[in-house]
């Protein structure tokens, strides 16, 4: 069963997804990287990257294609990386502009968070953005993420000095905002004081 939300399905990457992924990477507004990448990526590069992926039971990252449930249209991708098993991971998302403001990004994020907390049993999820990315910060805050750190003036983008920002969502906070879900994972680990 795929990972399903109200609006979207998260599924494995396919070759037919690569043209949109290339477009997202070549658009300075959606490429989602800490430094500007040259907008010269090609479909060939992305297909090669996809074909080079090897099977493994020991994976610390994954990329999911975001597909609309109703139309089957591809809207973008969402990822997790830097997995520390049963403890933490970092998520990232890129959505094509026609789907901005439609709830697709939030739904995709919710589907992935459910997987990370309920299936992988993580204790915290992080994401990285920057102080100029108002939409990304708002999307994260809507899900309960809070800013937990900055690299002051750590980015220079579009002629501006920006703070790199890390945001975190604790497991407990996720379940508080989802009272319909029971958290049956015992956690006898004390919090730092």
């Amino acid at each position: 069963m795929a990972l399903e939300g109200n609006l979207v399905i998260l599924r494995e990457e396919r070759h037919e997804d690569q043209p949109l992924f290339v477009d997202l990477r070549n658009d300075l507004e959606t490429q989602g990287w800490n430094v500007a990448l040259p907008p010269t990526y090609t479909e060939g590069m992305y297909v090669k990257r996809l074909d080079a992926m090897e099977f493994s039971y020991d994976r610390d990252s994954a990329r999911f294609s975001i597909v609309l449930r109703e139309s089957g249209e591809l809207a973008g991708y969402i990822t997790y990386s830097d997995l520390e098993e049963r403890l933490a991971a970092t998520i990232g998302i890129a959505i094509a502009k026609p789907f901005w403001g439609t709830g697709v990004a939030f739904d995709a994020q919710e589907v992935l968070l459910r997987f990370l907390f309920l299936e992988l049993g993580l204790r915290v999820v992080h994401l990285w953005s920057h102080s100029g990315n108002v939409c990304a910060l708002a999307l994260a805050e809507k899900a309960g993420f809070v800013i937990t750190g900055r690299v002051r003036e750590g980015m220079y983008k579009n002629g501006k000095l920006l703070d790199t920002v890390v945001m975190s969502l604790l497991r407990e906070a996720y379940f508080v905002s989802h009272p319909e879900i029971e958290d049956a994972l015992p956690d006898l680990i004390r919090e730092a004081t």
């Binding site: 800490n34 430094v35 403890l87 933490a88 204790r123 915290v124 992080h126 800013i147 937990t148 750190g149 900055r150 690299v151 002051r152 003036e153 750590g154 980015m155 220079y156 000095l161 790199t164 890390v166 975190s168 604790l170 006898l188 680990i189 004390r190 919090e191 730092a192």
Partner: protein, 190 residues
């Protein structure tokens, strides 16, 4: 201070070689350095390290791209007393640094000397604008060291790991070039 050679009157930062393995293993396996070994991310930071793992660490450091790790050698004795690294894979605008000093040689100003050399190099010879580091919240000595040298605490990322049955935070610290310059171009008393 000869920063081109990463050296001062009492120590030299030099390339690490295969025959450093014994000294490296000895101080990395000192219980005092558990959890703050400043070794490649996926290598064990808590369990005792075997010689083969040490060799793997040295090999990993030798192959680093957009980063370097150097050994800290005392001029007088020739002893390897720690290692320190700079990494700018993220962005040369905001490189990260790490310093590990063998327990027996701590509290002698060695870390301060190394930090001064690194900051002078990064802020005078690279495009660095923000130099940063990560310190576990239980590492009070490391946090005090950062504060003493003018670093600002810019974040506390929760649940960076577990120690003695308790989550700890990863504390982000950084210093901007203008802050370093205002402090006189060195890090003491900033």
């Amino acid at each position: 201070m000869d920063t081109a050679r990463f050296a001062n009157e009492r120590l030299v930062l030099r390339a690490l070689e295969a025959d450093d393995a014994e000294a490296l293993q000895a101080y990395l396996n000192d219980p005092a350095l558990i959890g703050r070994r400043c070794i490649p991310w996926r290598m064990p930071d808590i369990t005792p390290l075997a010689r083969r793992q040490i060799e793997e660490i040295l090999d990993s450091w030798a192959k680093e791209k957009k980063a370097f790790t150097l050994g800290i050698e005392m001029r007088e004795t020739g002893e390897l007393v720690g290692h320190a690294g700079c990494f700018w894979g993220w962005d040369t605008h905001c490189p990260g640094i790490s310093i590990a000093v063998a327990a027996a040689h701590q509290r002698r100003g060695i870390g301060s000397d190394v930090l001064d050399l690194f900051l002078k190099y990064l802020f005078e010879k690279t495009p660095a604008h923000n130099v940063n580091g990560w310190i576990a919240s239980w590492n009070e000595a490391g946090l005090a060291f950062a504060r003493k040298h003018g670093f600002t605490e810019s974040g506390r990322v929760p649940r960076g790991g577990i120690r003695d049955g308790t989550y700890y935070e990863e504390v982000m610290v950084d210093i901007l070039k203008r802050e370093w310059m205002v402090a006189g171009g060195d890090s003491d008393g900033a």
